[in-house]
Structure formats: C-alpha cells, structure tokens
C-alpha cells in the first residue's frame, strides 16, 4: 500500500512538471508580438512626420563620400560609415569632430580599412574591426589600444573567422557578427576583449530564411533598457537580448501575409545560397529587409526589385496595431526617405542636396523647411531629422 502511494505521488509530480513545462512553452509562444504586412492603408509623409530639420554634414574638401552605408547616433554624436570603409564623427548639429581617414594605413595605431565600427557607450571609445584586430580610438581618432581577434572558432572549423558588425555589452564584452567569408555567419559571437577570447555565441541559424537585408543597425535600446535585436539575414523575428545570460528570445514576428515573400517562396528557389541571394536581389514580391524598433512603433522597410523606386516602409503602432504603408517613389518623385536611424521620436535619413531639392515631399512639401539650404555645399550630404507624430 505504501509503495502504491509513493508511486502515485511520483506520477502526480511528474504529470505536474509536464503540464507546467507545456504551459511555459505556450506562454512563450503567445508572448511574441505579431504584426501582419497584409491590409496596409496607404499613407503620405505628412501623416507621419510633423517637422523636418536639415543638418549639413561637412566633409573634408579633398574627400567626399560617394555613398553612405550606415549612420547612427550614440553618446550625443552622429556616426557616418561610408561605402569606402571610413568613419566620420559629428556633433548632433552637424559640426565635424573627426574622421578615421587620418588613421588609415599600416603604421602603428593605424588600420588598413574598417570592417565594422561601433561607439562603445561604456568605455566612450570608438571600436574598429580589422581582419585580425579590434582597434580602439578616442573621439578624435587618437589610437588607444588594440586587441587580437580570434580568427578561428572551434577546433574543427575549416574556415577562418572575420567580423563585420559589433555591439557592446560593456567595456570588454562585445557581440560580433561573422562576415560571409566566415563559417556559419548567422550567429553572434561573444568576444571578451580583456582576454582576447571568444567566450560564447548566440545562434539564430534556424530562424533565418535567406540572406538579403538592408539592416545596417541591428540593436535598439529602449528607454526601459530593453535591448531588441534584428540580426543580419532575412528572418521574420526580432529578438530581445538578455545581456546577463547572453541569450535571445523571439519578441516580435512580422508575418508576410499574402503579398510578401514567404518561406515557401524561398524553398521553391533552386541553387545554393549565393544563387538564391542573387535571385532575391531582383525579386518582384515585397521582401522585408529592415526592421527598426522603438517603444511605440515598428518601422519595416520592404523592397521590390533592386531599386529604391520599389521600396516602401510600413509603420506599425505597437500599442494599437494600426499600420500605414508609405511608398518611397510615386509619379516620378521620391515621396518618402530611406530611414537610416530612429531615436526619441525622431527619424533620420541621409540625402544629397540635389535629391532633396528635386523631391519636395522629402521636405514635407514646405519650402520653409529648406530655407537654409542655399548655404549648403553641393557635394555635402544632408542629414534629415524628421519629428514623427
């Protein structure tokens, strides 16, 4: 009799554990915030933005970047990464502070080129990734120190490792994405620069559909310190990063709906990853290629084909689930900017002077917003700072 009771007790405990664990999984699924790309109402730029400020980004007379590949704001400074792997630092009103050009080279403290860059808010140092080093500079690009990067991860790995993006968890801990020349690029490597060692990784490989993306900034820190991450690759999820235990949980899912590319569409394509990437480069169905998270909004950029004329941005209100889609190009004119960065109710985009003058929607169809443009150099880039409603 006593044995029977014990068996029953054990079975009851096991059953309870099973039920609890199943419930946990359900809660985890239900807690993902979902938004669909179907049934978006069309919006105009004035629906979203109430004001725009023009900030001229002045460059050295001898060198004007042909294209800007990334911009972000951190610690009260604007950082520009051009397509020739140089970094430019400005104050938020556009006053130049420094550029990495002076430290480009092969001498002591110099870097041959920039593979990735971040401004570390914990150490207040700029960090440049080179093929084998992480190099640290102050805001005037005076060299501070460098640490060696691990060029191989795992004893059995056959390919080398190089890194293209970096996000700082502290002065010494960094999350780095491998480049395409590296093994298993869909993961974040945890690098401890004080020990010059990789101490872990966060993999999201099973969530990735394919490679195409225009995601130049991957981490979004909200005012409540929540860190969202949309890593490199084409994937429907945005994660919340848990910096203490170095894990990521799915937090937001963008559902393709009936009009955008689906995982089934990609599975139907034949060829290796490179061939599929080239096919998707010109793909006519909308592909979500950039996701930006704020506390109350989600900005999801869609691409159709391979020019900005086929782009649109869907803006979701995270509280009410309302959404509107803004076409970037219509009737021969640009109607909406390619958003580079969002912070504190401001959206930032970079355009040339010519583009701005030729497309009035970009200055909200209000000539008063460009009253100071005559003083801007033709070759300088202009940072547009939109206030959103």
């Amino acid at each position: 009799m006593l044995i029977m009771r014990r068996i029953i007790n054990v079975c009851t405990i096991i059953s309870l554990l099973v039920v609890i664990s199943c419930n946990d999984n359900k809660i985890s699924d239900l807690s993902i915030e979902k938004h669909s790309l179907d049934d978006c109402k069309e919006g105009t730029i004035e629906d979203l933005f109430s004001d725009v400020e023009l900030i001229e980004l002045r460059f050295d007379d001898k060198y004007y970047p042909k294209a800007i590949s990334r911009m972000f704001i951190e610690s009260g400074m604007v950082f520009i990464h051009d397509n020739r792997n140089n970094i430019y630092i400005y104050t938020e009103d556009g006053t130049p502070i420094s550029s990495s050009l002076k430290m480009r080279g092969e001498g002591p403290g110099e870097h041959p080129f920039v593979m990735g860059f971040s401004w570390n808010p914990h150490s207040q140092l700029g960090e440049i990734i080179t093929p084998n080093l992480l190099m640290f500079y102050d805001r005037n690009f005076n060299f501070v120190k460098s640490t060696r990067l691990e060029s191989r991860v795992g004893k059995d790995s056959k390919k080398g490792m190089m890194y293209g993006t970096i996000y700082d968890l502290s002065s010494d801990l960094h999350l780095m994405s491998p480049t395409g020349a590296s093994e298993r690029p869909y993961r974040l490597i945890v690098y401890d620069s004080s020990k010059e060692k990789n101490i872990g990784e966060i993999s999201y490989e099973e969530d990735v559909w394919s490679s195409p993306n225009i995601q130049s900034n991957h981490f979004f820190v909200l005012s409540d310190s929540t860190i969202y991450c949309h890593p490199q690759g084409l994937l429907p999820y945005t994660y919340i990063l848990n910096p203490e235990n170095l894990t990521m949980d799915k937090a937001i899912e963008i559902e393709s709906g009936s009009r955008c590319i689906t995982l089934d569409d990609i599975k139907k394509l034949s060829g290796d990853e490179i061939q599929i990437a080239h096919y998707l480069h010109d793909y006519e169905k909308p592909i979500p290629v950039n996701t930006i998270v704020t506390s109350d909004k989600l900005f999801v950029m869609l691409k159709r084909g391979n020019t900005i004329r086929g782009f649109s941005t869907v803006v979701f209100d995270r509280n009410s689930s309302e959404k509107k889609e803004y076409s970037h190009y219509k009737d021969g004119k640009f109607m909406f900017p390619k958003i580079d960065f969002v912070k504190d109710n401001y959206v930032y985009a970079i355009v040339s002077k010519d583009t701005l003058l030729e497309n009035p929607a970009l200055y909200l169809n209000n000539p008063a917003n460009i009253s100071n443009i005559d003083s801007f150099d033709e070759e300088n880039w202009i940072l547009l700072k939109y206030k959103y409603n």
Binding site: K66, A67, G105, F113, G164, T179, N213, K303, N306, I308
Partner: protein, 93 residues
Amino acid sequence: MKKFLFAAFTVVAVISGFYGYNQSNNQPINALVLANIEALVYNELPEVVIECGKDGGDCWAEDIFSHYYMCGEYMYLPCAFTGSMNDSCTEPC
C-alpha cells in the same frame, strides 16, 4: 648615338618613376600586414608577398550576408575582405 641612348634611357626612367608613383597612390595596400592576416585566417605561413586592395580588388569578395549598400537608386552587395588571393571584387560606387 650615345646621346640618343642617354635621352631614351632618361625618358624611360622618368615615365617609370611617374607610373610607379601613381601606382603607389592607387590603393593597393599591402603587403606583409595583409599576407600575415591571410596566413592567420587560413592557418598557413605566407610563402609569397601578396598584395590586397584596400577598398575592394584582390582579396575581397561580394558578401551576400552583409546588408545592401545603395549606389544612387540602386542596391548592391558590398565587397568584404576575405584575405584570399582567389577572390576579387569591385563595387559600383
């Protein structure tokens, strides 16, 4: 004849010098630093001095995992450094 040879030699020397100067300003960085990088990445000892471009060219390849860059209205995949002389890549912008 001697004067002619001297003049021809001088012209060739000047042209070579000018060409060499231009080439040295025309990006290929390189050398031991990047050769060592390649050796480091592929775990080999460099046997020859290689030259890699510093903004694309040799030792760079199109990176399908990177985010697209824009060249005017068009998107393109940027070149990323690979350290391998088998690769070569040039960006449109």
